[in-house]
């Protein structure tokens, strides 16, 4: 019986269990305009990758706990000392020193605004968000960069105040554990599994 591939780390090494690929037979491609002559073959492949979040792990773990983490450069010699980065960057892009991880959940709750947005009717394969997807880019007071995410409730507008929500129930441990809703949205309007 097949089992989804699972991984944990022990003694600094990956320990894997289950199936990381599935074997599906290839099929001939034939030309219906020319006597069904052979033109090629299909090459099915279903693989599971093992991906490390490295120094960003705390960001993704924190989403599942309802916290939005960012980083701040505290290198006294850096020309951009004090700059806060969201998206989370492990190292300062100016001085390359390791930055300090900070909790900016309150900043997000109090100051997040839609910088720009779009409404996406189509998606690529493997998309799991409900369409249309309302992508928003979010600006925060005191943060020098802009975060991309999606609006889970309502219609986006540039300048709209939004607040973060988090998938604390059955988290995916991906960026999709975070979404945004207009300020003053009621708890009972949030998508399943999400809370403030």
């Amino acid at each position: 019986m097949s089992m989804f591939g699972q991984v944990h780390v022990k003694n600094g090494q990956y320990k894997i269990k289950g199936d990381f690929h599935e074997l599906t037979p290839n099929m001939p491609i034939r030309n219906s305009d020319d006597g069904w002559k052979l033109m090629g073959v299909t090459n099915p492949r279903d693989m599971t990758y093992i991906h490390s979040y490295g120094g960003e792990s705390i960001f993704f773990e924190s989403l599942s706990k309802g916290k939005l983490m960012a980083t701040r450069c505290d290198n006294k010699k850096c020309e951009s000392k004090g700059s806060i980065y969201q998206p989370f960057r492990i190292f300062c892009p100016d001085c390359l020193s390791k930055m300090t991880v900070i909790d900016m959940t309150d900043i997000a709750k109090k100051t997040a605004k839609i910088h720009t947005f779009m409404v996406c009717e189509r998606s690529g394969a493997f998309n799991i968000l409900k369409r249309p997807i309302k992508f928003i880019n979010i600006e925060f007071d005191g943060v020098c960069t802009i975060l991309m995410s999606y609006l889970a409730v309502g219609e986006p507008e540039i300048g709209m105040r939004v607040v973060p929500i988090f998938q604390k129930l059955d988290p995916t441990y991906t960026i999709l554990d975070m979404a945004w809703v207009p300020e003053k949205t009621k708890s009972n309007h949030l998508p399943k599994g999400f809370s403030f």
Partner: protein, 478 residues
């Protein structure tokens, strides 16, 4: 604000003159069920040889190094596809190198070729690019393209790259477009123009005679971008032969055209838009220091640079290129251009990044008619025609080949061979395409200098390739 050092802003200088000797390309289409990639690459190299009246074997005998632009291994399902093509072209045991910079791969492949010749390492380089985008259906293709975004932070958000441009379109429309319907119509006009010019190009994948209303009524992909605002997904190959002066003269002994001087510069920016601290707008030679002082007043929301309204990488590529070759005003100094119209919005953004119009005023390049072969407003030739090939929207976006296709096209104009190549009845027949009854010669008369912009989403890499008739240089020692 970020400040750049003099060393970072130093103007590039080639150690010796470099020439584009010839170029070639395959037919472009959504799929080639009957051809392997090497067949398309050989079509391109064979045409490059025919363009200068030498055999492919003779041309190969000059090649010393090869650069291969092939963006997506996972699209073609072939890791190290460069080695396969190099082998099939029979160019072993020459050194070769794969190049990948997303949508700018073609331009970067030329960049590498120019540097190899300029440095003296090689006297003759093959820069060849291709992409195989028909091995998966379109939605899987969109997924694979989205893998070029940050896989932890962006790709899971819909797995569709159009969305990452649409947020830029929305911001630009709000800030510089002032939310005017007329601006939306101007964007649509770009799609009409590019699909229309594609009708005159036998290589082009998507020739269409359409109206602005057709574009505005096409299905929404990622609002405000609609299907006809978007570039194509293509298969095909293109190549260029880049040489030093002595080799260029030898190779063009029996050629109907002369070699052209070539320069390529490059810029970059963050993969995620606006992901660095802000900075002052780097200025081009036709701009002044106080020009953008009140940009935020004129266009509220436009004060942040770089933000979602432009591409810093394109600005930097233009900065290096214009200063390197002596261009003061691109509209006056250039005769024809090919821009990376991945989307109608990014076409407009690029007009501003490369100084055809100041930031905030890109739409005027279209609305004035300057971008047309024949200005519909004046009935006279456009001041600086763009994307006469049909661009990425009308001709193709076979990623690794795109930047090289652009250079093939602008070279045809300077060589005064556009009509000979694009009007050739035999070529239309060979490609099984119908030459339109109203086929029009789009040769830009007297073209001597041209520019091509190759761009990776969402402005992470951009190259600027400049071609000049060697007798019409602006700066003699460039």
């Amino acid at each position: 604000m970020i400040k750049f050092s003099d060393k970072q802003l130093a103007i590039p200088k080639l150690m010796r003159p470099v020439y584009l000797v010839t170029a070639g390309q395959s037919k472009f289409d959504r799929a080639f069920p009957d051809k392997r990639t090497e067949e398309l690459c050989i079509d391109a190299l064979t045409q490059a040889a025919e363009m200068i009246n030498v055999t492919p074997a003779e041309l190969k005998s000059y090649i010393h190094t090869c650069y291969y632009g092939h963006f997506a291994d996972h699209f073609g399902d072939q890791l190290l596809g460069e080695a396969v093509i190099h082998d099939r072209l029979g160019l072993d045991p020459l050194g070769n190198c794969g190049v990948k910079t997303g949508g700018a791969t073609g331009g970067t492949t030329l960049w590498e070729g120019v540097k190899a010749v300029a440095s003296g390492y090689s006297n003759c380089v093959l820069s060849m690019g291709w992409e195989r985008m028909d091995e998966v259906p379109t939605d899987e293709g969109n997924f694979l393209i989205s893998c070029a975004a940050d896989k932890d932070w962006e790709s899971p958000l819909g797995h569709i790259y159009t969305g990452y441009y649409a947020v830029m379109a929305q911001k630009y429309w709000k800030v510089f477009g002032k939310e005017e319907d007329s601006f939306r119509r101007t964007l649509a006009e770009i799609a009409v123009k590019h699909h229309g010019y594609a009708r005159m190009n036998p290589y082009a994948q998507s020739p269409m005679k359409i109206t602005i209303e057709d574009v505005l009524n096409s299905p929404v992909v990622a609002y405000p971008l609609r299907a006809l605002d978007c570039c194509l997904m293509s298969v095909g190959a293109a190549c260029a032969i880049i040489c030093d002066e002595a080799t260029a003269i030898k190779l063009t002994k029996n050629s109907p055209h002369k070699p052209l001087r070539i320069w390529v510069t490059a810029g970059s920016h963050t993969l995620r838009p606006a992901d660095r601290r802000d900075m002052a707008i780097p200025l081009l030679p036709n701009e002044t220091a106080d020009q953008y002082k009140d940009l935020g007043k004129k266009f509220p929301g436009g004060e942040r640079y770089p933000g979602f309204t432009g591409f810093l990488a394109a600005r930097m590529a233009a900065y290096y290129a214009y200063n390197q070759v002596g261009i003061k005003d691109p509209t006056a100094d250039l005769d024809v251009i090919e821009l990376h119209d991945a989307f109608t919005i990014s076409d407009v953004q690029t007009y501003e990044d490369i100084g055809i119009r100041p930031y905030g005023y890109g739409r005027d390049y279209v609305e004035s008619g300057d971008c047309y072969h024949m200005n519909p407003k004046t009935g006279k030739p456009g001041k600086l025609p763009s994307n006469l090939s049909g661009g990425l929207i009308g001709c193709m976006h076979s990623v690794g080949a795109t930047g090289i296709m652009q250079v093939f096209e602008i070279a045809c104009h300077i060589w005064n061979r556009w009509a000979e190549i694009h009007g050739d009845d035999k070529l239309w027949k060979k490609f099984d395409r119908k030459k339109p009854a109203d086929w029009t010669d789009l040769q830009v008369k007297g073209a001597k200098r041209a520019l091509a912009i190759s761009h990776a989403g969402v402005g992470s890499h951009v190259t600027a390739t400049i071609l000049m008739d060697p007798d019409k240089l602006i700066k003699k020692d460039a």
